[in-house]
Symmetry: C2
Subunit: 190 residues, 2 copies
Amino acid sequence: MTSRAVGTRRVEILRAAAELFAARGFHGVSIEELGRAVGTSGPALYRHFPGKESLLAAMLLDVSERLAAGGRERVAAAADPREALESLLRGHIAFALGEPALITVHDRELDNVPEPERRRIRRLQRGYVEEWVRVLAQLRADGRPELLRATVHATFGLLNSTPHSADEVPGEQMAELLLDMGGAALLAGG
Amino acid sequence: MTSRAVGTRRVEILRAAAELFAARGFHGVSIEELGRAVGTSGPALYRHFPGKESLLAAMLLDVSERLAAGGRERVAAAADPREALESLLRGHIAFALGEPALITVHDRELDNVPEPERRRIRRLQRGYVEEWVRVLAQLRADGRPELLRATVHATFGLLNSTPHSADEVPGEQMAELLLDMGGAALLAGG
DNA sequence: CGCGCCTGTTAATGGTCGCTAACATGGTCG
DNA sequence: CGACCATGTTAGCGACCATTAACAGGCGCG
């Protein structure tokens, strides 16, 4: 059996790994389990990634890039700061609700990424945060930059908590709730 | 050398373990490391806990009990719902800022607690959440219970995110910021 | 004084893990 | 058609890990 398209396996592995890492943590999942989750067994993974850590690195790099790029586009497309902030919120909420496993791994497992890539991921994350901070600064004359940054981080905590409260609330309502709460939190204080 | 007071070692171990588990995750910390962190080496831990998992269980049980008891007391001592909610917020914020490692482990490592204790911890957590929900319900005619519960969970995400954004903002200001953001988030939506 | 408990030590054990080696297979293409 | 490359397989290696065994010192109490 030869694979369908190039890179299909790779993507399959990353998706399965995200679920497992989110559920039991990077160190709580073995290579053998990762293999079994995609129908192969164990060491077949090494045909696609040089090691377990590289797999995590690829995953977090992809997430960070998608978030950062999405943020940039949304801000660029917005007519004014108010609209930009709402668009950022909607984008992040869609991501958190749509790919809860990725969001979870993204803010728990950075420390397990080896050094060359960790720096790149951090840079991307910082860029994403600064996107929010710049927009927020235009809406609030008051805040010093560190305070705005802390505000944004706390808001991410709010938005990213969704996966952990395995929900009885349907996605559409949850999105609305998070939009309201996130907006209120961002504009509070000062 | 005989220890100062009874249970001193036990507490020392729990404190050190909280830091290590928060930093690298339950599976990322070895017994040997836990021992070294309190000046003994490795297997000495088994004089105080029957195993690694029991250690985690004791830690999470203690946190859950303190949060739940604190919540109960604060609500009982409050004159009205508005005051109760503010007191709950202040209490949780003080905990999150004062013991960031415990808060982190508390909402990441429950799955690694073995079954008899896990249920008890969950029960305590649920009780704490319901304390918040009852208060919130008195302040907001609108919300259905699941929505209020989701609101409270999201607010916890906001408050508990503090440890991860290792901060440039001093504690007192951070507490104020979280109070404002948390309050706004809780009363938003609907 | 001496016995026992509390608390610690080092050595060993059995299991698991990440990773490598050696080998197999099947489709692509010169 | 036959060599190559991509993608698997199983077996094995060395490291590490949680836990247990065997042993030791010191303090409190009879």
